[in-house]
Structures are given as C-alpha cells and as structure tokens.
C-alpha cells in the first residue's frame, strides 16, 4: 500500500494505492492521524485502491467522525470497494463518488 497526501487551501487529499487490510490499516491510520487535525475538508482519492478490509473501513469512518458530516468525501471509488460500502450499509453514511 502507498499513501500520498496533498494539502491545498485547507483541503487535505489522501490518495491510497493498493490494498488496505489488517496489515496495512495501522499505516493508513497513522497517515490520517498525521494530517487530519490541520484541514477543513478531507478527500480520500481511491482511484488506485483495490480493496479495503473492515480495519480500513473503520479508519475511514473514524475520519468522518473526526471531520463531521459534509466535510469528507471519498472519490474515484472502484466497483469492488463500492460493493464493500454497499454490503456493509456505509454507502448511506459516506459521501461517495464512483470512478
């Protein structure tokens, strides 16, 4: 898993490449923790994310709790990851834009 972060005008964009699973979720959590306190909006760009496990989903939902509703978007979500949001019910909770 690779993570790139970019901050512009208070908007933090976190691009994740590869898989977020039990092994990589702690690094994902650390990356979010490192930057989340200093932004007004948060965008997760999942164009190159192939899979997200329950441990990764928790970090994503935690980030939404931290930011408050409407201040976080998940963009470029592929079919596999979108299906995970749908089967778990979190497609009703997260602001998602498909690829």
């Amino acid at each position: 898993m690779n993570i790139n972060t970019k901050k512009e005008n208070g908007i933090l964009t976190i691009r994740v490449e590869g898989k977020i699973d039990t092994g990589t979720a702690p690094a994902f959590e650390s990356a979010v923790k490192g930057e989340i306190g200093q932004c007004s909006k948060l965008v997760f760009d999942f164009e190159k994310l192939s899979y997200i496990s329950s441990a990764g989903l928790r970090v994503l939902l935690g980030a939404q709790k931290f930011m408050g509703e409407g201040e976080m978007k998940v963009i470029n979500v592929n079919d596999t990851v979108n299906d995970i949001f749908e089967i778990t019910g979190f497609s009703y909770v997260l602001d998602i834009t498909r690829a």
């Binding site: 699973d21 039990t22 979720a25 702690p26 959590e29 650390s30 979010v32 923790k33 989340i36 306190g37 496990s53 329950s54 441990a55 989903l57 928790r58 970090v59 939902l61 935690g62 980030a63 709790k65 931290f66 995970i84 749908e86 089967i87 778990t88 019910g89 979190f90 497609s91 009703y92 909770v93």
Partner: protein, 294 residues
C-alpha cells in the same frame, strides 16, 4: 485465517435474501448516530460506537468460518443486527433510563452496590437496556416480525451475564415465518465471544481517543491493555493476543484479562458445542509477543 472471511456474512445475506440485507444496511445509518451517544455518559470509555460493531462483525465472520453455509438468512440478519444493537444500552437517554429501569430485574445488585450511580447501573446492565431499547424503537429499524425482534433482543442481551444454556430464553431452534429456524445460543455466543476479544489497539483509533489526558486509573489500565495488544488473531483452535510491551504491570493485567476471556470461551463452548448443530472451534486464549514472530 484467510481474508476470504472478510464481509462473509454481509455477502451471504445479500445472496440469500436481498430484502433482509436491505433492511440491515438501512438500519446502519440510524444506528451509527445512536451508538455514539454512549460518549455522553461514558466520555472516557473505550470505543463502543459502530466502529466496535464492525470489529464484532469481523470477529464473528472469522469465528463462524466455514460454518456460514449452515446459517440461513434469518439467522445472519438477526446476528448482524445484534452486532450493532448489543451496546445501544450504553447510550440511553434519561427518559428511557427511567422507563427501562422499572422493567429490569436487578436482583440483589443494590444490596451489593449500595452506592451505585446511574452510569454504574447502565454499565452493569447495559445488555438489558439494549434489549429494552430495541423493543421500544424496533419500528424505526423495520424489524420484519416479532420473532425476529425476539431473536435480536435475546442475541444482544446474551453478550453479557445471561445464561446461554437456558433453553427457555435461548431456544436451539425458533421457527420464523419463512420456515427457517434461528439458533439463539450460537448467535448469542458468537457476539459474546467477539465482543470479549475486541481488545486490540485498533479498537480505539488514535486520532479519536487522546489517552494522554485520562486521569481515572481504571480507564488508564483499560486503554493501556488495548494499546499493548497489537492484534487479536483468530486461529482454527484458539485466539492469540499479540502483545508488544515490556511493562510487567500491563502484562499482568493482560494475563488477568485473558483468564476472564478463557471463562467466556468455556461458557460459549458449553452453550454451543454439542448442544447445537454448530461448534465454537476456538478453545483457548494464548498470549504471544508480537516481536517473536516478526
């Protein structure tokens, strides 16, 4: 155990019954708001929100393993709902507390805890409050029948204290309208176990919980244990707590917790294995140093 168990119940439910799966997913939105209410009463407690529910579901998926094929749609729906509802009692409003506390059999609790505060009572009986909460507000979640409601309530209540071998309270096969049966002791045992083993560092996301500001000794010990347990691994025959600490105080507390966990594993095995068509294959709790396997 393999990643193949990720979201296994959710996928299987959608396959077996898109209608029940839809009811489940639509409930998640409301539940995630309700579950956060525990912070109003217990601001320094470890996570009891939907993030904990996700862990409980994930552990259930791994404990069930290949036995998932034997579970029907009504059982999976009831279990998934129970995973979300089991801690709703931790965040009940004052008005509901007044109403529900009149319906709970507290036994000799107040003789033993004469100075119990309302938060103490809520914490110690939160499984009962969860059941009563669901009974009162079930229409909000469009629970499909009274029998499903009974199942979810009993499964949620069963995550603590209740006797899962009581066949009247926990029937091995209750038939619902679809003709399917629901095995109460297995489903309640799964939540009890999954809830008990959600003790790793990942439970409390580091950017949501500031452990540096804790002052209560009990909270410090609780978070200290969680921070030292890097992962809980579900193997075919046991649960492994992967720890990374040299602090003897923390290690002793983890050992103490592991003994309590072992009792839960034994209780759940007694209620499920041999009495129902299902098996809890995990029999023991092991503590292992994370660095030993790096």
């Amino acid at each position: 155990m393999s990643d193949n168990y990720d979201y296994a119940m959710e996928r299987r439910l959608r396959e077996l019954s898109p209608e029940l799966h839809k009811l489940f997913t639509e409930s998640v939105f409301g539940l995630q708001h309700i579950l956060s209410n525990y912070l109003l009463i217990f601001p320094t407690f470890t996570d009891h929100t939907e993030l904990h529910s996700l862990n409980v579901i994930d552990f259930c998926n791994r404990i069930i393993g290949d036995q998932l094929e034997k579970l029907n749609a009504d059982e999976i729906y009831s279990l998934l709902m129970g995973c979300y509802f089991h801690d709703t009692g931790m965040g009940i409003r004052e008005k509901d507390y007044e109403e529900f506390s009149k319906q709970i059999d507290f036994g000799d609790y107040f003789e033993k805890h004469s100075d119990a505060s309302v938060p103490d009572i809520i914490r110690d009986f939160h499984n009962e409050f969860s059941g009563l909460f669901l009974r009162k507000y079930s229409a909000l979640f469009e629970v499909p029948s009274e029998k499903h409601l009974d199942a979810i309530i009993q499964i949620s209540r069963g995550h603590r204290k209740t006797d899962l071998t009581d066949e009247k309270e926990y029937p091995i096969a209750m038939t619902v309208d679809s003709g399917n049966t629901i095995c109460f002791p297995y489903l309640a045992g799964l939540i009890r176990l999954a809830d008990e083993i959600d003790v790793a560092a990942g439970r409390n996301l580091s950017f949501l919980y500031d452990t540096e500001t804790l002052t209560n000794e009990k909270d410090i010990i609780e978070f200290g244990k969680h921070e030292a347990i890097k992962e809980v691994v579900v193997l075919e025959d046991r649960f492994v707590l992967m720890i990374d600490t040299d602090d003897e105080f923390v290690i002793n507390n983890i050992r103490k917790m592991a003994r309590k966990m072992q009792k839960t594993v034994d209780e759940c095995n007694l209620a499920v294995t041999g009495r129902t068509p299902y098996t809890i294959t995990q029999k023991t709790i092991e503590i292992r140093r994370a660095r030993d396997i790096k």
